[in-house]
């Protein structure tokens, strides 16, 4: 497959991809290191909590989204990284045994103001489980090299 440049992500492009099974062991491992709140790492405490069982750290869900983006879109692209994320919302808890997938839509594409060999692409992502329940939404920007210099 041809390497993906800024031009390959026009506004309106939609991709659906990913199939990430979330295990309880992974949830506990991630949260033990980065988010050791009881409802992420302690089964008994989590059962008593209003979440009613262990749930993934929201940062873990975001990181799993990142992995799906890398595998599907970024690894074979001219991505130079991201300046940031405009908005992230955790819509519902992610629980052990769920399988996450991504819907990605390009919502904005602009050439870099000063460096005409690159451009910014803003994506809107929706992460859902196997039943279609929405778990996370995010809007963020990636900087790609352009295939041809100058304005389009």
């Amino acid at each position: 497959m041809k390497k993906q440049y800024w031009e390959d992500f026009p506004v309106g492009r939609i991709d659906e991809f990913g199939s990430r099974l979330v295990s309880e062991a992974e949830i506990i491992e991630f949260a033990t290191e980065f988010d050791p709140q009881p409802f992420h790492i302690d089964k008994e405490a989590a059962a008593e909590h209003f979440f009613g069982g262990i749930i993934a750290s929201g940062w873990h869900t975001g990181s799993m989204l990142m992995r799906m983006l890398v595998d599907e879109m970024l690894i074979n692209s001219t991505s130079m990284g991201s300046p940031g994320i405009d908005e992230l919302r955790w819509k519902a808890p992610v629980r052990p045994g769920e399988t996450l997938s991504v819907r990605s839509e390009v919502v904005e594409a602009t050439v870099h103001k000063y460096k005409s060999d690159r451009g910014f692409t803003k994506f809107s992502y929706v992460v859902s489980n196997e039943k279609g329940d929405v778990k996370l939404t995010m809007t963020s920007t990636i900087l790609f090299l352009k295939e041809t210099e100058g304005d389009v």
Binding site: P36, G62, S63, W90
Partner: protein
């Protein structure tokens, strides 16, 4: 430490905490799982990239920040979780040997209209390296339990 409820949270409160040394092994371990782009996991490729050396995944920096927040902030607050956050920006790469610390500030708070026994705390979270350069920031949203409905 006394539990901090919605009424106890003071707008303008600043907290500075954390001292997280970032190792190369940790950077590679995290990115291998969640963000396997060459400039995060491959020293040779990273040296040739625009970053001129291995840098941490932005999600790793965010996750390390969450850990510092859990250790120093979250445990004292009557927190009910977070719906997400806004405007996360990565300003400078985080490199092996960096030491990260956090500055948090309470910007605003609003009692929930529909559920007055809780409210939302609006904050800014800034992350610095050992040279006091800001590497990341975001606008946090945290839901917190109230002691009263505010109408008694």
């Amino acid at each position: 430490m006394a539990t901090e409820y919605f009424e106890d949270v003071q707008i303008g409160t600043v907290r500075e905490f954390g001292s997280k040394l970032v190792s190369k092994d940790e950077i590679i371990k995290f990115a291998t799982k969640f963000d396997p782009q060459p400039f995060h996991i491959d020293e040779v490729a990273a040296a040739d990239s625009i970053y001129e050396g291995i840098i941490a995944s932005g999600w790793h920096t965010a996750s390390m920040t969450m850990r510092m927040m859990v250790d120093h902030m979250v445990s004292s607050r009557a927190g009910l979780g977070s719906p997400g956050w806004n405007n996360l920006r990565w300003y400078k790469p985080v490199r092996p040997g960096d030491i990260l610390s956090v500055r948090s500030e309470v910007i605003d708070k609003k009692r929930s209209v529909s559920r007055p026994t809780m409210g939302t705390i609006f904050g800014t979270i800034q992350v610095f390296n050992k040279n006091s350069e800001m590497v990341m920031s975001f606008e946090s949203l945290g839901m917190v339990l109230a002691k009263t409905t505010g109408k008694e």
